[in-house]
């Protein structure tokens, strides 16, 4: 039997004005288990807290009920007070007789009666409270960043800056991501490479950062503070430590007809290649799909010309297993495939390009060395039509993505503006549904494109593109003048919707992190925890969480880094003790709880149970990882056998409250 003390607070006249606090204390004194009951002016004051502490000591209280303001206000205060004199803080319950009683009722008799009932419910609950100890788990002081684009680089740099080790896993041979392919950035028009490559170099030189390029995450185990990750280092057939990046091999390789992915296939590279001049790490990689030596065993030119002797045709995939306290997902995005939108003739004419391809066509390191030439005949295009929202804002399903890709309005304005600036004799049309420019200096930028650069912005959409006689016959609508336009264009640029990288979904499964129907990672809370995944210890950076531009990506990257630093700064994690736990004797192992757990906190194991007649039975039972569980209780209701229960809000505790209220 508990020895319970009841403390009724007046809160000055806030409670005492409507509730007869003395009567409440007296009535509750008669409840079973109550050995002490009193009222006082301000329980939260130092004197009030001392009253509680002294009473705990004097009466040897095992449970405390405080009838006062909302537990959201002072529950912690009272718990700490109890703890300071050796009572487990979770033996304290608060009956809310201010916000939910004295402040909403006028009649003293009614309010007093209700206060007593609320007090009784709290007493009934305390009877069933058990001391809870917050568990602790150690924190491995190293972070993993998956994805080496601008998001991943920024996150890694910030974490390293704070003194923690970070590993970056990047699936392609170099870090840099999509930003490396971009020519200029809006709305300032500074060159993307000029601001990105120093960061890439910094990441490479930062002692705390280790870059696993050309690598993928194969397996993730563990939980917040202690993830164990298996990283596959794909064979690049070049010894990374020896290669000097001199590039001789990439010039001598006889296999010249390999589509160059960095320029989106608009030109060719060799079978051994360095993706671009500023690549980090600047080492060569052999493409096994094209290398004659690897495919037929005959060639070996690169090996012969390599003075550093870095080529190794026998290399195999290697695996690294490492421990991390936190994982940041920064897997980024890709433009969607335009197969389904061939009314724009993307597959029918090389002069119909995506915006990212256009980016490369404008770029000095691109296939045309920065001169804008149309791919079909390398002539200057005189009329260019930009089409916005290709595959964005659709009805979902086969039609395309239901969301706005967010960056297209701005980069299209940028393309249009840059084109007009470099080639003033070019006619530029932009077909838009809405121009969306929320962002610092964004609308001004777009207006400049229209007002200063004379870009023709037309509210409407392109309906059909017909390549004919060297032109692209564009049929479009102009909704404001209610006309159908027919434009003979030289190039058409499609603002393809963006979608999360294809590697994100399997990664989410490995991390037990949740995703929305569009394969964007979901955040722990859309407003308040936007850079955390609901899975503890997994953080989100950049486009993998939703469409965003570079400044937003960098902000989120730094925010994620701050969260990681906050986590890694701790030696141990204190867990919320109000977590679920499973009674193995009762558990059927049916997996219902696991299915509703938003945190992936529940796992199963086969356990032996002693049965009658000295037999042993093996049964699959659930166990909850207290470091991961957040205590929502979804599992407790999903569980038919009642094996799953929640500390601090157990079935019996809640039912005791129900009983006390309904008596």
């Amino acid at each position: 039997m508990q020895k319970i003390g009841v403390f009724v607070c007046w809160c000055g006249s806030n409670i005492a004005g409507t509730v007869d606090v003395h009567a409440v204390a007296e009535t509750l004194k008669k409840e079973p288990g109550v050995v002490f009951s009193t009222d006082y002016q301000y329980m939260c004051s130092e004197a009030g807290q001392n009253l509680i502490k002294d009473s705990i000591k004097e009466y040897g209280l095992t449970g405390v009920v405080i009838c006062s303001c909302s537990p959201r206000m002072h529950e912690n205060t009272f718990r700490k007070a109890a703890q300071s004199v050796g009572l487990n803080p979770y033996m304290v319950e608060v009956a809310n007789i201010r916000e939910q009683c004295s402040w909403i009722h006028k009649d003293m008799a009614t309010a007093t009666e209700k206060a007593v009932i609320l007090g009784r419910a709290a007493i009934a609950k305390v009877h069933l409270n058990a001391p809870l100890t917050a568990g602790e788990s150690p924190v491995v002081k190293r972070a993993l960043v998956i994805g080496g684009g601008i998001a991943g680089i920024q996150t890694a740099l910030d974490i390293a800056e704070a003194g923690f080790e970070v590993d970056i896993v990047e699936k392609s041979p170099t870090i840099g991501g999509k930003m490396a392919q971009i020519d200029k950035t809006f709305p300032t028009l500074d060159c993307a490479a000029c601001i990105l490559t120093p960061k890439m170099v910094e990441a490479a030189q930062q002692e705390k950062i280790k870059i696993y390029s050309y690598s993928e995450v194969d397996e993730v185990k563990g939980f917040v503070g202690n993830f164990s990750v298996k990283i596959r280092r794909k064979a690049r057939y070049v010894n990374e430590d020896i290669c000097t990046g001199c590039g001789v091999c990439t010039e001598k390789c006889p296999q010249k007809k390999v589509p160059n992915e960095f320029n989106l296939g608009m030109d060719n590279r060799r079978a051994i290649y360095i993706p671009f001049a500023q690549a980090v790490p600047k080492v060569a990689t052999i493409d096994p799909n094209y290398c004659t030596m690897l495919k037929t065993g005959k060639c070996g030119v690169c090996s012969k010309v390599c003075t550093a002797k870095a080529i190794d045709y026998t290399q195999k995939d290697e695996f690294v297993e490492a421990q991390y306290g936190a994982i940041v997902v920064a897997t980024g995005f890709n433009p969607i495939s335009l197969e389904k939108y061939d009314e724009f003739a993307y597959s029918q004419s090389p002069d119909v390009v995506t915006s990212l391809e256009y980016e490369r066509l404008m770029n000095a390191a691109g296939p045309t060395s920065g001169t804008l030439l149309r791919p079909s005949d390398l002539t200057h295009p005189k009329t260019i039509v930009f089409v916005q929202c290709v595959g964005s804002r659709c009805d979902g399903g086969d039609k395309g993505k239901p969301y706005c890709s967010k960056v297209c309005c701005m980069y299209t304005a940028k393309h249009a503006m840059l084109t007009r600036e470099k080639y003033p004799d070019t006619d530029v049309y932009v077909f838009y549904i809405d121009v969306r420019t929320p962002g610092k200096n964004f609308d001004e930028f777009y207006r400049r494109a229209v007002e200063d650069y004379g870009v023709h912005y037309i509210k409407g959409m392109v309906g059909k593109v017909v390549p004919q006689d060297g032109k692209l016959k564009v049929q479009a609508s102009d909704l404001l003048s209610n006309e159908q336009l027919h434009i003979d264009a030289d190039m058409v640029v499609l603002a393809a919707a963006i979608e999360p990288d294809k590697t994100a979904r399997p990664l989410a499964t490995m991390l037990t992190a949740s995703m929305d129907t569009n394969d964007f990672f979901t955040e722990a809370h859309p407003k308040l925890r936007p850079v955390e995944s609901p899975t503890a210890g997994v953080f989100l950076s950049g486009m993998c969480q939703g469409p965003k531009d570079i400044p937003e990506t960098v902000s989120q990257a730094s925010a994620a880094a701050a969260k990681v630093i906050g986590l890694l700064a701790k030696d141990k994690l204190t867990c919320n003790p109000c977590v679920a736990h499973s009674d193995e004797q009762l558990c059927n192992g049916c997996s219902s709880c696991e299915k509703v757990c938003p945190y992936g906190a529940i796992t199963y194991q086969d356990k032996e149970f002693r049965m009658p007649n000295r037999t042993v039975a093996v049964r699959r039972v659930a166990s909850v990882n207290p470091a991961v569980c957040q205590g929502c209780g979804a599992c407790t209701v999903a569980c038919p056998s009642g094996a799953m229960d929640l500390n601090g809000f157990s079935n019996r505790q809640i039912m005791a409250e129900v009983d006390a209220i309904c008596k």
Binding site: S70, E99, Q100, H525, P598, C632, V637, A638, V658, I661
Partner: protein
């Protein structure tokens, strides 16, 4: 002849999730928005913590109405809890209706931490409904043939 009518004071249990609705109830208090004292709130971490058993238990022990309040769908502190609660309560309420229990006795309302006024208004409406339904007899009587 005058029959003396005893005023019916219903017993009403309100389960409120800690993050939204309980805070909404607190806000109703802070703003001094009245609702009847018949409503007694039980704090739960999330609407998904509420087991149909608790609701039946309340009726068993004499409650006349039970209401469950949680974060608005999409705003759950635990992301998905109220979605499960919504399904569970939909099915439970439908079953009670099927058994001939007055459907006004159970209700789910999504109340955010900012919706103090909505909380008070909801409780006022609910109490009114319960008073109009009168004492909860059917659930108790289901097993005893008159």
């Amino acid at each position: 002849m005058q029959i003396e009518k005893k005023e019916f004071k219903p017993t009403i249990v309100a389960f409120c999730c800690n993050w939204c609705s309980y805070a909404g109830a607190d806000l109703a208090g802070t703003n001094r928005l009245n609702y009847p004292a018949d409503v007694k709130i039980i704090r739960v971490p999330c609407s998904c913590r509420v087991n149909p058993m608790f609701i039946l238990r309340a009726f068993q022990r004499g409650a006349d109405g039970v209401i469950l309040c949680g974060c608005h769908p999409g705003d759950c502190h635990y992301t998905t809890g109220n979605y499960y609660a919504r399904r569970r309560m939909t099915l439970l309420f439908s079953m009670l209706d099927f058994l001939g229990i007055e459907r006004g006795r159970t209700r789910v309302e999504w109340v955010s931490a900012a919706e103090g006024a909505k909380f008070a208004q909801t409780m006022n409406e609910f109490v009114e409904t319960i008073i109009s339904l009168g004492e909860n007899k059917r659930l108790e009587d289901l097993r005893c043939k008159k």
